[in-house]
């Protein structure tokens, strides 16, 4: 059906029919929460919907509800996600399998309601699994898979599903919406290991730790995240068998004999793929890696996928302020992965699309031409570059 990306996420939520949704509207996520509210009003779901007074309260209520042992979902963007920051850590640390749609948007100041990834990248160390979506279809598919991933007994971790604000969130595209029953069968039922509502077996959630246990608890938490990649891949394959669209850690395009590679997240992958296709016709050995999973970061898998490549360009839709040369977070992770593996590829970073700035095919063409030069000369002239910036 023809759906906006935000409505695709709301459709997935309708089919999941979670026990509790607590949410607060924020542009460009509003379409998700208001569509879902209408489903509640029309009886299409029998979810308990809590229209809270802020995003911090949204995540607070989600934590209380998830600790009480049911399926919990929410959605946010930008400053709303930033307002949740404290609670993001608590949700992950309490091992609560909450699923959240994030419609990516720039963070203030200056106030800007359009897309970049500064919001979810700011939350990258909170302990959540992060899945990025190129299209409305992927946002829909990822949301359904997220429920399974979050609730996997080895993980019990919250999952964020990203899509690009307005670009995907408000663009109408054809989305294949699966049969309700098939979705419900795929996600199955959830039986919590512990619940606040199990009054016959009372347990304490959120105790406080001194130096004698905190460290071990954090180790357990990071161990759980390290198990996530296998679960994500397994669920992605099972999803493929059921619904015909298989998902992995990243989506390689024209990578088999590639000497040059571009790494990018979300909707810009579409533009990049078109450019790569055209350049391939001209004989340039270039490929594209669309990264789907950013947390946990697939370091080893990326190193393997890039092993025959001479030069790599990483496109970042956010800046890690104060990082090396003001680079973006994806670039830093890719550099770290390649360096730790002793790899010899040249790597270059491009910051693009901040605050909703358009990404034109010619920008990607420039990246490709830089990559060719880097591969030929073995030299990276400028480590961090900007696409579409007036200077």
């Amino acid at each position: 059906m023809a759906l906006e990306g935000a409505h695709a996420s709301a459709q997935a939520m309708r089919q999941i029919n979670p026990d509790v949704v607590a949410a607060y509207p924020i542009t460009p996520q509003t379409a998700v929460v208001q569509t879902f509210s209408q489903y509640v009003a029309d009886g299409e779901v029998d979810t308990e919907f809590i229209a809270v007074e802020s995003e911090h309260a949204a995540m607070s209520a989600c934590i209380g509800a998830a600790a009480a042992g049911g399926r919990v979902m929410t959605a946010t963007s930008a400053n709303g996600l930033a307002l949740m920051w404290e609670e993001l850590y608590i949700a992950a640390s309490l091992r609560l399998p909450i699923v959240m749609t994030v419609v990516n948007r720039a963070l203030s100041a200056p106030l800007n309601i359009h897309c970049d990834h500064s919001d979810s990248m700011g939350a990258r160390d909170a302990g959540w699994i992060q899945l990025y979506s190129e299209t409305g279809q992927e946002a829909y598919d990822n949301t359904i898979q997220a429920m399974r991933i979050a609730e996997h007994p080895d993980l019990l971790l919250p999952v964020m599903v990203m899509q690009d604000g307005f670009i995907t969130g408000h663009a109408v595209e054809l989305v294949e919406v699966a049969d309700d029953t098939a979705v419900r069968e795929f996600i199955g039922t959830y039986t919590p290991k512990y619940s606040l509502l199990d009054i016959d077996h009372p347990i304490t959630f959120g105790a406080w730790d001194l130096w004698d246990y905190y460290f071990e608890h954090k180790r357990q938490q990071t161990d759980a995240l390290s198990k996530a990649m296998k679960v994500i891949v397994d669920v992605g394959q099972e999803f493929g068998k059921t619904f015909g669209r298989t998902y992995g850690i990243f989506d390689p395009y024209a990578m088999d004999d590639a000497e040059l590679a571009i790494i990018v997240l979300s909707s810009t992958a579409g533009t990049a793929r078109t450019v790569v296709r055209e350049l391939r016709k001209k004989g340039l050995k270039i490929g594209l890696l669309k990264l789907r999973v950013f947390r946990p970061f697939p370091a080893q898998e990326l190193v393997a996928a890039l092993k025959d490549v001479k030069a790599v360009a990483v496109l970042d839709r956010s800046i890690s302020f104060g990082a090396m040369e003001g680079a973006g977070p994806v670039f830093l992770e890719v550099c770290a992965a390649l360096f730790a593996a002793g790899a010899a590829q040249k790597v270059v970073n491009y910051i693009y699309g901040l605050g909703g700035r358009d990404v034109l095919p010619e920008y990607i063409e420039r990246v490709a031409s830089d990559l060719r030069e880097i591969a030929e000369t073995g030299k990276v002239k400028t480590l961090v570059n900007y696409l579409g910036l007036r200077e």
């Binding site: 026990d19 509790v20 607590a22 029998d46 979810t47 308990e48 809590i50 229209a51 809270v52 007074e53 802020s54 911090h56 309260a57 607070s60 209520a61 989600c62 934590i63 209380g64 509800a65 998830a66 600790a67 009480a68 042992g69 049911g70 919990v72 404290e86 609670e87 608590i90 619940s195 606040l196 509502l197 199990d198 009054i199 009372p202 347990i203 304490t204 959630f205 959120g206 105790a207 406080w208 730790d209 001194l210 246990y213």
Partner: protein, 308 residues
């Protein structure tokens, strides 16, 4: 239903011995009185603060009931989330109806200050939960800093009494009235010195079909600077001086629960505590008169509200 001490004493403890509250603290007394009064099964949430720190140090817990701590400001929303989950799971037939009562506990910092927005939101949405404010009139857990519940003239570490400034300059926030303005089914002010009154209020709060709120005066000998054995006496004096009146607002109807036979001067309560000691110096004596004037004014206002 009449509360009989003998019957209450025979009930199992929901807050177990072995907690780490300071000697002479009023908080465990209040929590035990309240949990004892409520017959239904409970799920308890606590804000960050003394109660949380004293009862949940991993790997131990003092709670014989399901309990959750999330953060400082959001206990009301956390427990509201649990309450919402309970309602939907019962509605969907996933768990049996067990008549569970949801209780949120916060200190005055978590209630009057940082958590007021979350509390107000949860009250407006009408979640069925009981909010208990353990009001010890400062941020005691972080070492006695002023809150908006701290009385005028009190010495705290962020409203210290000096040679020029006589402790906290502002009057306390009228929180119970602010909560009453939300028009929830049940609001009360209580004190552990008047235990039967407090326990009856806990029962009414548990029976309320919607949110309920009890602001409980909670003596802190560390912060108030007095001996560890006088919490209840000092509390009783606060009630006898009308500094802390006991009243309730049930479905909008105000009721005074206790009228002292003889209204004692507030000075008698002030002099029991080291935090007001400086007020008895000649240059600060006028503050005592100001406090008395505000107490009188509030008391008269309360009497009028309760007459109607």
């Amino acid at each position: 239903m009449v509360i009989k001490l003998k019957e209450q004493a025979a009930k199992p403890e929901r807050l177990a011995p072995g907690h780490r509250f300071c000697a002479g603290c009023a908080e465990p007394i209040i929590i035990r009185q309240i949990l004892n009064a409520i017959d239904e099964p409970v799920v308890v949430g606590a804000a960050t603060g003394c109660t949380e720190i004293a009862t949940s140090m991993y790997p131990y817990t003092a709670w014989n009931v399901p309990w959750i701590h999330n953060a400082f400001e959001n206990v009301s929303t956390t427990i509201a989330g649990a309450e919402a989950m309970y309602r939907v799971l019962v509605r969907r037939g996933k768990i049996p109806e067990r008549n569970i009562r949801f209780i949120a506990i916060g200190g005055d910092g978590a209630t009057y200050d940082i958590g007021l927005q979350w509390l107000s939101g949860a009250l407006e949405r009408g979640h069925r939960f009981i909010y208990i404010c353990l009001n010890n009139e400062a941020y005691m857990n972080t070492g006695i800093q002023r809150s908006s519940a701290t009385p005028m003239g009190a010495h705290t570490t962020t409203s210290p009494a000096g040679t020029v400034i006589p402790g906290k300059m502002q009057w306390r926030k009228p929180l119970t009235e602010i909560i009453t303005a939300h028009r929830i089914p049940y609001v009360a002010q209580a004190a552990p010195s008047h235990w039967r009154d407090l326990m009856e209020k806990a029962r009414k709060a548990a029976a309320a079909d919607g949110p309920s709120f009890i602001n409980v005066f909670s003596d802190c000998n560390r912060g108030w600077r007095h001996g560890t054995e006088t919490a209840i006496e000092v509390t009783r004096l606060a009630v006898e001086t009308c500094y802390w009146p006991l009243f309730e607002v049930e479905n909008g109807v105000w009721k005074l629960n206790y009228k002292p036979r003889e209204k004692k001067p507030v000075e008698e309560w002030l002099k029991t505590q080291g935090r007001f000691q400086h007020l008895f110096q000649p240059q600060f004596k006028h503050v005592i008169a100001e406090i008395q004037a505000r107490v009188d004014e509030e008391w008269e206002g309360l009497l009028k509200k309760c007459e109607a």
